[in-house]
């Protein structure tokens, strides 16, 4: 249904703008299915950035923030064609192929679920089209020697390193270090990769893993899983969960009277406003790694304007996922602009030469520079905590807007 409407819209747009040499980019997200909202949010983030690049508006203090199309390409406009992978890796493969062969897109961008990025990147490699992964966090994606794969966002090794660095800092500050953790993660590539890294880093930091629980995603109940967490009684519970499971998990904890001293989530569901709305006060104090800090306005002056534009479309603030999606398109558009060409090979060369300082984006990162695996090495994450019903950046200190609330060891 959604796809039909999109196809009709795409056709209309084609007809209307046939004369302009648009740059056509294929965006693949899960627009329907179990994580449809995340896909719809991604779509609105992409559309916001495309509008910032294409339309005439007051200048925004960031890269390509002046509007009016791509300056080195005679003001060519970015045109997005959206495809729906329904969170299914096989559909993602088919949709990627369709975008390349039928819609002749010059680059692909996506895709939220890491499992779908795995298949899209294979198709991109085969057809020699750049694929920019904007929000997938599985480390394995950039460890397969692909040459058409680029990822602006940090992966779970970098994210998890930030969590353990934070544990070390806060332990030294308060004298109440983390001695044990409990891992709980969903049973797809996201949970498997995330927990694998956490297990290793806990061992390296001398932190005991008291529970190691893999659960079935979209379960009707997580009562038994949470009962095992309670029995383990670790200092920090570390979930890797999508939104629906995150809601269920916190409710199940509450149902059996379990409140862990700290929760440190691997983003995803725990950084979703829907999650906070659904569980309300139960989420208070939960921490998550993130790569976006909405409150870092002092060092990233473009945030208020960009957020206002996104809010006008989506009716909510930018979050960790949507900010990365938006910046991903900015980076890809910049590479195409610098390439001055829509040939995939030229775009790849320009992507490899990318060197954008963080302040030219809305992210709290040092910047964007890809290594030989296509991974952005300058994307340093932040830690956020839900305080008074809002996400506040608590670490690292230079972008923090609130002090951490720390109950471990009390």
């Amino acid at each position: 249904m959604t796809r039909l409407v999109l196809a009709a819209l795409a056709l209309l747009l084609c007809g209307a703008r046939a004369e302009a040499a648009d740059v056509v980019i294929g965006a693949i997200f899960g627009l329907s299915g179990n994580a449809a909202q995340s896909g719809q949010d991604a779509k609105m983030a992409m559309e916001t950035e495309a509008a910032i690049i294409n339309d005439a508006h007051a200048p925004i203090p960031m890269l390509l923030g002046q509007g009016g199309g791509l300056p080195h390409m005679g003001g060519a406009k970015i045109r997005l064609i959206f495809a729906d992978h329904e969170a299914d890796p096989q559909k993602a493969r088919a949709e990627a192929e369709r975008l390349i062969t039928q819609d002749h897109v010059v680059a692909l961008i996506g895709s939220y679920q890491s499992a779908t990025a795995a298949t899209i990147s294979q198709v991109a490699e085969r057809y020699q089209i750049p694929f920019l992964s904007v929000d997938n966090s599985s480390p394995s994606l950039s460890a397969r020697g692909l040459t058409w794969f680029f990822r602006t966002s940090p992966h779970d090794v970098m994210f998890t390193q930030a969590m353990f660095d934070f544990f070390k800092d806060i332990g030294a500050q308060t004298g109440r270090p983390v001695k044990s953790v409990a891992l709980i993660y969903e049973d797809s590539i996201f949970g498997a990769d995330s927990s694998g890294v956490q297990r290793k880093m806990a061992a390296a930091a001398g932190i005991k893993v008291l529970a190691d629980l893999r659960y079935r995603a979209n379960s009707p109940s997580l009562a038994a899983e949470v009962a095992r967490l309670k029995a383990a009684g670790a200092d920090v519970v570390m979930p890797s969960s999508y939104t629906n499971d995150a809601i269920l998990m916190l409710r199940a904890m509450h149902d059996i009277g379990y409140q862990p001293p700290a929760i440190m989530a691997q983003d995803a569901g725990f950084i979703d406003q829907t999650f906070v709305n659904a569980v309300g006060p139960l989420a208070e104090g939960a921490m998550s790694r993130s790569s976006f800090a909405l409150d870092a306005v002092a060092s990233r002056p473009a945030i208020p304007q960009v957020n206002a534009l996104f809010r006008a479309r989506a009716g909510k603030d930018l979050n960790d996922m949507t900010s990365r999606e938006l910046v991903g398109l900015q980076v890809l558009a910049d590479a195409i602009d610098r390439a001055g060409s829509t040939k995939p090979e030229d775009i790849r060369t320009a992507l490899r030469a990318t060197n954008i300082p963080g302040a030219q984006t809305i992210m709290p990162w040092r910047g964007i520079r890809f290594d030989q695996n296509g991974q952005n090495t300058e994307a340093n994450p932040v830690i956020e905590q839900i305080q008074g019903g809002h996400y506040r950046t608590i670490w690292p200190a230079d972008v923090a807007s609130a002090k951490p609330v720390w109950h471990v060891g009390e």
Partner: protein, 291 residues
């Protein structure tokens, strides 16, 4: 494992199992009545949950009081589905089984899409109500009140369904199931009985959805999380048997809880399906099956 933890595990399993049972009851009723497997059953659950959510949000009425409203609403939905789709599917001359499978399957996909179009993909939850997020603790065992209330309502709904089975209408249902042609000779309107059967089946899943909305999240494909278990519950309990659905639902809830406690929690459905396969080997018609 402490005694409190064991009791907690069994209690969680029981409460979840009662919900499974009530979701399955409607499916069982429809299947038993006319040999139609309703693949859109999970989507009826979804509709009931959305109805509860929006009625609660719109009126602020306590979700518990909305149960009868949602049940009546779903009764209507069930009747309409029967009259517009199922009656036609039953009327075709060739491949009747296939047609009814595709029709209910198509309906499921349509309802999911329609829900996403109308309500968006966000997860909705009833934030505050009399029972929301409240628990009672006794000797280290916690009883979450929304689930407990759902369990009680589920048992009441089963009692009501069993009572209905003893009425004139219930006997007509039973007779229609036994011999469609003969009841027509007795002047019973088969079509009307079937429509009421669908209404009743949808109403019971409506009750389950209204209670579930009080502690679960609501989204366009929430039905899928419960549908598979509902089919297994019906098959395990025996097709067309209400008591079987009740027992099988509770059994599945407990097997799930115990599997998740003792093994890798991601294997809990394997435990459930393992038990089902075992029953299938020993007693193919299900625990209480008569068909």
């Amino acid at each position: 494992m402490s005694l409190a933890a064991v009791v907690q595990m069994l209690l969680s399993g029981l409460l979840m199992g009662l919900i499974y049972a009530l979701v399955a009851a409607g499916l069982s009723l429809i299947f038993g009545l006319m040999d139609v497997v309703n693949f859109a059953h999970g989507e009826l659950l979804m509709l009931a949950m959305y109805a509860t959510f929006f009625l609660w949000r719109g009126t602020g009425i306590e979700p518990l009081l909305l149960v009868p409203v949602v049940a009546i609403l779903l009764f209507g939905v069930g009747m309409v589905i029967y009259r517009t789709l199922i009656a036609r599917a039953l009327g075709v001359r060739a491949n009747r089984g296939m047609v009814q499978i595709f029709i209910t399957f198509g309906l499921a996909i349509f309802l999911q899409g329609a829900a996403q179009f109308a309500f968006g993909g966000d997860f909705r939850s009833i934030g505050h109500s009399l029972l929301a997020n409240r628990t009672v603790a006794f000797a280290g065992v916690y009883l979450p009140l929304p689930q407990a209330a759902a369990g009680v309502v589920c048992l009441l709904a089963f009692a009501a369904l069993l009572l209905i089975a003893r009425t004139e209408f219930g006997r007509a249902l039973e007779a229609t199931r036994e011999d469609r042609e003969a009841v027509a000779l007795l002047g019973i309107d088969r079509d009307r009985i079937f429509a009421l059967g669908w209404g009743l089946g949808a109403a019971s899943v409506g009750v389950a959805g209204a209670m579930l909305a009080g502690f679960y999240y609501t989204s366009p494909d929430v039905g899928a999380n419960f549908a598979l278990i509902a089919y297994v519950t019906v098959a395990l309990g025996g097709f067309g048997s209400l008591a079987g659905a009740l027992l099988a639902g509770v059994l599945i809830g407990e097997v799930e809880a115990v599997t998740a406690q003792l093994f890798d929690p991601s294997l809990k459905q394997v435990g459930v399906l393992g038990v089902y396969l075992l029953v299938l080997l020993v007693r193919p018609r299900g625990l209480f099956g008569t068909l």
